[in-house]
């Protein structure tokens, strides 16, 4: 039954909804961007405080609101990630909004609502609420893609996004319907219990899983469902693109892993599914990396690069599923690597995108050649952006290197050596295209000589992101200590009983 302590467990989301509503009302009365942005940023302290309080007083997984809400280390980990995204987005979009978008208040409100949905996606243990959370995440994203109202590109991108997004959630729902039909419940713990009795070769289980993975495939832009990403990334306002590339992806993986692992689907024999997912991972890696290498527009390149990054994460997911039946504890190392990878990816990509927002704002172009010789014109921005790109490529001193190493070793140990080899080869390709931008920025002759001065909000964002990246590099073991129990907590729905 409902207890007051349930509200405390839901407090981060509740306070974030209230914050969004407050920002919405403020937007009615003032047109001053600084007020709206400050309120959003300061207001974020409340949900952050609640999450920290929950993490500090954590004693074990708890469920609330009729088992719809699950507060375990996994959901706390993702709540932190999404709140980081929200804070970065407020800062990174501030300057861009003033320049290109008339609807500043709307942007923040939509972003905050979407973050609420993302947090819920990671922390619900029930199919209906996962669906609602997914749509709460997606609708603001659709609108954000179309906020650049004068640009045809932007509204086209938004319409494509709505159509494909709506279709993908319909496919996902069909998977949910089959899962509900198989197990008779929408509660993931109940589903996990009834999957104990499913033997080998139940075709419907595989069909349901494939539909669910196809549905989430759109959100995480895995390969057969990736075609929306480059178009929408290019057409949408750049801060919105940054938000799609990290938020939608992290939330999609959070919910997918929650269903596959916490929902105990691995207890049935999933060999065909593992083959399918493995093929998807390989295709995602190959297409993402090779297509990124031939792009001339930097936003399209980042779109393909984010597809490629989804491929690495999928390798970790496949590895976990391969081993889950035999050994939970070992299998959880795959999820831990995925969690670490997602955290690093979020910070790095936000940094790289704030760099791109700043540089393309200043130079007025989005082509890679517009970035020529920026080292001479804006050294700080160039260095920070380059560090983020190096991390995305997985070059040793930066955190991105460790996140790739963890995923690859986990996948190797869990029995997917071929995937690791393919992923390694693809990362070599990725060094080429990330390196090309760095080369253009540092070694090519600049178009003009005059210095570029980035607005304070953007230079703060990118410095913060780079600093966070370097800190992550130093405290790798600390983060892993948080990621390991978070991964293991997903198996708790079964081990506890």
């Amino acid at each position: 039954m409902f207890q007051l302590s349930d509200l405390y467990l839901l407090a981060p989301e509740i306070s974030l909804v209230l914050l969004a509503l407050v920002v919405m009302v403020i937007d009615l009365f003032t047109k001053r961007r600084i007020v709206i942005a400050t309120v959003s940023l300061v207001g974020l302290i409340v949900p952050v405080g609640f999450v920290i309080a929950q993490a500090v007083t954590y004693t074990g997984p708890r469920t609330a609101l009729f088992r719809m809400l699950v507060v375990d280390q996994y959901s706390l980990f993702f709540r932190v990630i999404f709140l980081i995204i929200a804070a970065f987005m407020v800062l990174a979009s501030y300057n861009y909004l003033g320049k290109y978008i008339k609807a500043e208040g709307e942007f923040y409100v939509l972003m905050l609502f979407s973050v609420v949905g993302m947090m819920l996606m990671a922390s619900t243990g029930e199919l209906i609420s996962i669906y609602i959370a997914l749509e709460l995440t997606s609708f603001p994203l659709y609108a954000m893609a179309g906020l650049l109202r004068s640009s045809t590109k932007s509204s086209e991108a938004a319409l494509k996004y709505v159509l494909l997004g709506a279709m993908s959630s319909a496919i996902l729902l069909y998977g949910f319907a089959l899962l509900y039909g198989l197990t008779g419940t929408t509660d993931l713990q109940g589903i996990a219990q009834s999957f104990k009795s499913f033997g080998n070769g139940n075709l419907m289980v595989i069909v349901a899983d494939v539909l669910i993975i196809a549905g989430f495939g759109f959100k995480i832009s895995a390969v057969p469902f990736h075609m929306w990403a480059p178009d929408i990334y290019e057409g949408a306002p750049t801060p919105a693109t940054a938000f799609f590339s990290v938020g939608s992806k992290a939330a999609g993986f959070a919910a997918l892993i929650r269903i596959l692992v916490y929902g105990g689907l691995w207890q049935a024999d999933l060999t065909p599914l593992i083959v399918v997912l493995g093929v998807v991972a390989v295709l995602t890696l190959i297409l993402g990396n090779f297509a990124a290498a031939v792009q001339t527009n930097i936003k399209r390149m980042m779109a393909y690069s984010s597809i490629a990054q989804a491929g690495y994460i999928l390798v970790g997911v496949v590895a976990t599923l391969t081993m889950s039946q035999k050994n939970h504890t070992a299998a959880s190392s795959g999820i831990a690597a995925v969690l670490f990878f997602i955290l690093v990816y979020v910070v790095t990509n936000l940094g790289a995108f704030s760099g791109i927002i700043a540089l393309s704002n200043l130079t007025g172009g989005e082509k890679i050649e517009d970035f020529r010789g920026l080292w001479h014109r804006s050294p700080l921005l160039t260095v920070c952006t380059s560090l983020c790109l190096l991390s995305l490529a997985g070059i040793p001193p930066v955190a991105g290197f460790f996140s790739k190493v963890f995923i690859f070793t986990a996948a190797w140990q869990l029995g997917q050596p071929w995937l690791v080899i393919i992923a390694l080869l693809c990362s070599i390709v990725s060094i080429v295209y990330y390196g090309r931008i760095i080369k253009v920025m540092f070694f090519d002759a600049p178009r003009k000589e005059e210095r570029l001065v980035a607005p304070i909000s953007l230079s703060t964002t990118i410095t913060l992101a780079t600093a966070a990246l370097l800190v992550l590099t130093v405290i790798v073991t600390v983060v892993l200590d948080a990621a390991n129990p978070a991964a293991l907590s997903l198996f708790a729905s079964l081990l506890g009983k």
């Binding site: 609108a143 509204s155 319907a177 008779g184 178009d231």
Partner: protein, 99 residues
């Protein structure tokens, strides 16, 4: 009637919806096809909920209905905003962006 009958009808409607999304070019008709897919899912949920004797499935249908309405509203708003600048909403004509 057996449960299978409902599920087959639902699968057929769902497939018609998918085909509609893939081959039709008008966004409004694509929206209708998506609506068809969602209602096929709803039919499965209601049938399963009746045969499993649990109300969860019916709750799912209510929420799918409300969310689908919101989805259509977002879509229509975007169509209106495109129409204002273009006076044409054919998906094939949208070629400023090409994958």
């Amino acid at each position: 009637m057996p449960l299978t009958a409902y599920l087959i009808v639902s699968a057929v409607i769902f497939t018609i919806g998918v085909i509609g999304v893939l081959i039709r070019r008008n966004p409004l008709i694509i929206f209708m096809s998506i609506e068809l897919m969602l209602n096929a899912v709803n039919l499965s949920f209601v049938a399963l909920s009746h045969f499993l004797d649990s109300v969860d499935g019916q709750m799912f249908v209510f929420l799918v209905l409300t969310v689908a309405a919101a989805e259509v509203v977002v879509g229509l708003a975007l169509i209106v905003s495109i129409f204002r600048t273009r006076h044409n909403i054919d998906v094939d004509e949208m070629n400023v962006l090409r994958g």
